[in-house]
């Protein structure tokens, strides 16, 4: 078996090399520390830079160099790309404009592109019309438009090279994610988990836009591209066929969600892509039972390891079988090489929606560590490391409590203890740095009917700040944490007034950066979390902080522009659960701090300091 597999990988590898410079180009760019060529910094999702011009010692001198208004309201997620051609490439939420900005001329617009797309997609975008950014390879930029059109642009001119249709907004499909280029393929997921779509991951040819494979998140094995004899689950072949069909009540898998709308990571040595799937269709667990009993609803909330060449599934790990809380499992899978019990392992770390930090073996999908990074997490007491399943607390089980019953004080909220905001891994410290949410919820499932293109939610939610532990900041709704993925422990924590919804960055300058919903960009000491510098951008930050070097100068770039689910949930503030109904809330509304508006800000040290 093993030699055969090796042979297969070798053959596929040869084929890929002969067909595809794209992968090599992207890899080459990633390995140049001057560049930021992919949204997560590298294929492994580290969001770490070797640049060290900006350090703990001089970061206090960091200054804005110029700002650029995108002219678009709405939440600005993702960040600028720098591939070494003297330009920054940025994107916007719907209408998904793309700009090439001249780094040597304070952001003068070299070219801009605006797709002509059907605005009727907007009502099927559950949580703002966000977009997580461009992908680049070999002179081409790739953008997943809101209306499910995947496009390739000539990076030199902004000319449209090809477009491909990845979904149908009339059945609730939309796109928010950043595609990933691997070999000669552009790989794209889909959004629409709140509209009863059937999730899928699809590869398109980088040159032509022609579809090459599609793997669904649920349904028969042939559609998911699972082989129960060879696809692993907890390190063993799955064995049973068509679990993506049999773990659902009749036909429910067809509207079973599992939308993979987060980030994709890639291991070039193992030649595997990794991503997580979203919530299983309706949020009412009762409608997903089989004979009245909880059913796994596979493969929702599952980590998939797929062969990027043909989509075949190498292994799966379902983080939450039979979801009862909308713990949408799309959070990024960071590929980290670590030592456990004296042994070197190829790890995969997740700061998950559920409040648990996972560590898996990325060759086999075995679960190695599952510990709470958000201590308020109460829906499950722990994970059974033999079965890989959570041990659910009945008090917070919305299924056990029942339909039309308001189950209260569940932590974390459906927003997750962390949402899409990508974390950072520093190989220098071996720690993961993440902005997190400290919010809990009441959750009441109700029966809902599926209508194509209409919301298929079936639960009513209210949210409140999580209880504050001893010494924590009063009324805080977020934190920025340093997490030890092997020990499963928080090393340090900085509390923030609001959920921290921006992507983190770490650098060889011993710094960690993140943004706040009020609009601050902050630099902290990577070892202690001590704040060293901050700047108030014009709007809340839900974008990612990226860094690059041009003409010898290290820059920091970030998109601000509040919105996303954070903007919807937190604009008016949350109620203090300790106060009586209708009392004036002690918890601030985001609305008092920031308003809409997309701005790119580019920072550097003054010339005297570089």
């Amino acid at each position: 078996m093993l030699p055969e597999t090796r042979l297969a990988i070798a053959t596929i590898g040869l084929l890929a090399i002969s067909m595809a410079q794209a992968n090599e180009n992207q890899l080459e760019l990633q390995q140049n520390p001057d560049l930021w060529a992919t949204q997560l910094g590298n294929y492994q999702g580290h969001r770490y830079s070797e640049l060290d011009q900006i350090t703990r010692e001089n970061v206090g001198q960091l200054q804005p160099q110029w700002q650029f208004s995108t002219g678009v309201l709405r939440g600005h997620e993702g960040g600028p790309l720098y591939v070494g051609d003297g330009r920054l490439y940025i994107h916007t939420p719907f209408p998904n404009k793309v700009f090439a900005l001249d780094l040597e001329d304070e952001g003068r617009i070299i070219w801009s592109y605006e797709p002509d797309q059907d605005f009727r997609v907007i009502p099927v975008m559950c949580c703002d019309t966000v977009n997580r950014g461009l992908a680049y390879s070999d002179g081409k930029l790739f953008l997943g438009q809101a209306d499910n059109t995947l496009i390739a642009l000539d990076a030199e001119t902004g000319e449209l090279l090809w477009d491909a249709s990845n979904g149908d907004h009339t059945i609730g499909e939309s796109n928010t994610m950043s595609p990933l280029v691997v070999h000669d393929k552009v790989i794209m997921g889909i959004s629409g988990g709140e509209f009863g779509i059937r999730g899928h991951m699809t590869a398109y040819n980088v040159e032509t836009g022609e579809r090459e494979w599609r793997g669904y998140s649920n349904g028969p094995d042939d559609d998911v591209l699972i082989d129960p004899e060879t696809t692993l689950m907890m390190g063993e072949p799955i064995g049973e066929s068509d679990l993506g069909l049999t773990t659902w009540p009749e036909g429910e898998w067809e509207r079973g969600g599992g939308a993979p709308w987060g980030w994709i990571t890639y291991d070039p040595e193992l030649d595997l892509i990794y991503y997580g799937t979203g919530n299983p269709g309706t949020w009412n667990p009762e409608q997903r039972t089989v004979d009245g009993e909880p059913a796994d609803n596979k493969w929702a909330i599952t980590v998939f390891a797929r062969d990027p060449n043909n989509g075949e599934v190498k292994w799966v790990y379902q983080k939450v079988p039979f979801d009862e809380w909308d713990y949408d499992g799309v959070n990024e899978n960071q590929l980290i090489d670590i030592e456990i019990d004296g042994e070197q392992r190829k790890g995969l770390a997740i700061i998950d929606r559920t409040g648990f930090g996972f560590l898996l073996d990325r060759e086999t999908g075995e679960l190695l560590v599952a510990e709470k990074y958000a201590p308020e997490t109460n829906w499950a007491s722990h994970y059974d490391m033999e079965t890989g399943r959570p041990v659910v607390n009945d008090e917070f089980s919305t299924f056990a409590q029942g339909v039309d019953v308001n189950t209260t004080d569940i932590c974390p909220t459906a927003m997750g203890a962390k949402n899409m905001q990508p974390s950072s891994y520093s190989p220098d410290t071996g720690l993961i740095y993440a902005g997190i949410n400290r919010i809990c919820m009441n959750y009441e499932p109700f029966e809902t009917n599926y209508v194509a293109g209409q919301p298929y939610v079936g639960a009513t939610l209210t949210m409140m700040p999580a209880p504050v532990e001893e010494g924590g900041m009063e009324g805080r709704m977020g934190s920025f944490i340093a997490w030890d993925p092997v020990k499963g422990e928080v090393v340090w924590e900085v509390d923030e007034r609001f959920a921290v919804w921006s992507g983190a960055l770490t650098t060889a300058g011993n710094l960690a950066f993140y943004g706040t919903l009020e609009g601050h960009i902050k630099a902290v000491d990577i070892e202690t979390g001590e704040e060293l510098w901050r700047f108030k951008t014009p709007s809340g930050i839900i974008g990612n902080i990226n860094t690059f070097r041009h003409n010898g100068k290290q820059y920091i770039g970030v998109l601000s522009g509040v919105g996303g689910w954070a903007g919807i949930g937190l604009a008016a503030g949350l109620e203090n659960p300790e106060e009586g109904l209708g009392a004036v809330s002690a918890f601030s509304g985001l609305d008092e701090y920031t308003k809409l508006g997309g701005i790119l800000t580019v920072f550097a040290l003054p010339d005297s300091d570089t």
């Binding site: 209508v451 009513t460 604009a571």
Partner: protein
């Protein structure tokens, strides 16, 4: 499990029928609820009218809360307070008539490209509750009803179930 399911269906049907039911039984309500002024009770049957007592509300307004939370909150934010995505509907209810609000819910709205509200004309659980939504929004706008999930005034709840 079966019991739970059938009960939830029952409530679903009941809630859709609430508006019609409460109108047809209006006169009976007037006679049975002695501790409220007839005009106040009568008022609770009109779209936009509501009763708030000790933080509790009439069943229609409660139904409005549920419908808002299930269908409107995802864009307009919790407790009708607005969000970064869509405006506060309790503020809108101060300025807009029932006819205006109802026609927006039914017909949708395009303010400018990128700012779009969908039509709910084909969603019976919204359409049958437009009056109740308006009552909930008016109750919030009045300042009499606080944030969060209100309880139903007990004697009126009993009336509904009876």
């Amino acid at each position: 499990m079966l019991n739970k399911k059938s009960r939830s269906k029952h409530i679903g049907i009941l809630s859709i029928a609430v508006l019609a039911l409460s109108i047809t039984t209006a006169s009976a309500d007037n006679q049975n609820v002695n501790n409220q002024a007839p005009s106040e009770q009568q008022a609770s049957q009109e779209p936009g009218s509501f009763i708030v007592k000790d933080g509790k509300v009439d069943p229609n307004t409660y139904q409005g809360y549920l419908t808002y939370t299930r269908h409107c909150q995802a864009c307009h934010g919790p407790d009708a307070l607005g969000s970064s995505f869509a405006p506060s509907l309790s503020k809108a209810a101060e300025r807009r008539s029932f006819a205006e609000i109802a026609s927006t819910i039914a017909g949708g709205l395009q303010i400018q490209p990128g700012r779009v509200m969908p039509s709910f004309a084909e969603d019976p659980s919204v359409i049958s509750n437009i009056g109740n939504i308006y009552s909930y929004l008016k109750a919030r706008a009045s300042g009499e009803l606080g944030r969060g999930r209100p309880k139903v005034i007990e004697e009126m709840l009993n009336e509904e179930e009876g």
